[in-house]
Amino acid sequence: MNILIMVIFVVLAAFTLAAGVMVVTVKNIIHAALWLIASFFSVAAMYLLMEAEFIAIVQVLVYVGAISILVLFAIMLTRHVTGEGVRQLYKRWWIALIVAAALFGVLIVPTVFNYEWAVQPSGAQISIASTVEIGTAFMREYLLPFEVASVLLLVALIGAIVIAFEERSTRRRVLTLAEEVEQRRQRNESLRLAPTTHASETSE
C-alpha cells in the first residue's frame, strides 16, 4: 500500500511540475491558464493523498472553480494579447531566478538535512485536516485571522470595483454603471470628432 501511495505521489508531483513548466513555456496565454488549472487540480489530488479532504475540496472549489475563472476573464478582458510573437523572457529574468531559487532553497535545504518541522503549534495530536477541527480552530485559536480574512475579502471586492471604474472615485455621488457607460460613450464620441484621433480609430 505504501509503495502504491508513493507511486501515486510521484505521478502527481511529476504532473504538477510538468503543468507548471507548460504554464511558463506555452506561447498562447489561454493555454497557459488551462495548464495552470491542470496544476491546481493535481495539487488538490495531492491534498487528498495527504488525507486533507476539506482542503482538497476547497482547492477545487476556490482555485479550480473560482480563481481560474477570474484568470480567464482577466485574459479575455485584455485586447489582443494571445501572446503570439511576444517575447516570453523578461529582461531581468535573472532577478526572478534568484528569488525563486532562494524560496525553493528555504524549503528544500531543511528537508534534505532532516530538519524537524513544527507541525502543530500546541503539540496536540489533532489532525488539522478534519473539517470539525478546522471549524473549532477558526472560532478559538485563529479567531482574529478569521475575522481579518473577512476584511481582506471586503477590500478585494471594493478594490476591484474601484479599479474597474476608477473615474467614480473622484466623484462624491455614487454613479450607477449605466451612467458610467453613458459618460464613456459620450467621451469616446467627442474624441472621434477630433480630426487627429479619427485616423487611428478607423484603422483599428
Partner: protein, 118 residues
C-alpha cells in the same frame, strides 16, 4: 480513507481514457489527405469573418470577482457549520460579524450598480 478516494482516481483515469483512446485509435486507422478546405475553420458552414479574439465586457470580470469573494466566504462557512454544535453562541456571534463585514461589500457593489447588467 484513501481507499474510498481511490474510486475517484479510477473514475478519473477511465474518464480521461474515454476520449483519448478513440483519438489514438483513429490516428493510426485514418487516412491523412489534408486539403485547404478540410483544414479551414468550420463555423456552421459559413466562411469565418474577423478575429476570434473579442474583448469581454468588464462586467464579466466583476461578476467573477464577486463570485470568488462569496465563494471563499462559503468555504469559511462549511467548517463553522460542521463544528457548530460544539461551539455555541459565541461562534454564532463571530460568524454574524464575519458575514456582516462582507455584506458591507455586497451593499457597496449594489450601490455602485456593479451587479446590474448593462
Amino acid at each position: 480513507m484513501l481507499a474510498h478516494y481511490a474510486f475517484i482516481g479510477v473514475f478519473f483515469i477511465a474518464a480521461a481514457s474515454f476520449p483519448i483512446l478513440p483519438l489514438i485509435g483513429a490516428y493510426f486507422l485514418r487516412p491523412s489527405r489534408p486539403t485547404e478546405v478540410k483544414l479551414d475553420t468550420y463555423e456552421c458552414g459559413l466562411e469565418a469573418i474577423g478575429d476570434i479574439w473579442v474583448q469581454f465586457k468588464v462586467q464579466y470580470y466583476l461578476y467573477a470577482l464577486a463570485f470568488v469573494v462569496f465563494d471563499i466566504e462559503v468555504v469559511f462557512l462549511y467548517p463553522w457549520a460542521v463544528a457548530f454544535n460544539q461551539l455555541g453562541l459565541f461562534a454564532l456571534v463571530e460568524m454574524a460579524i464575519f458575514l456582516f463585514i462582507l455584506i458591507g461589500g455586497l451593499v457597496y457593489a449594489w450601490r455602485k450598480g456593479a451587479l446590474e447588467w448593462v
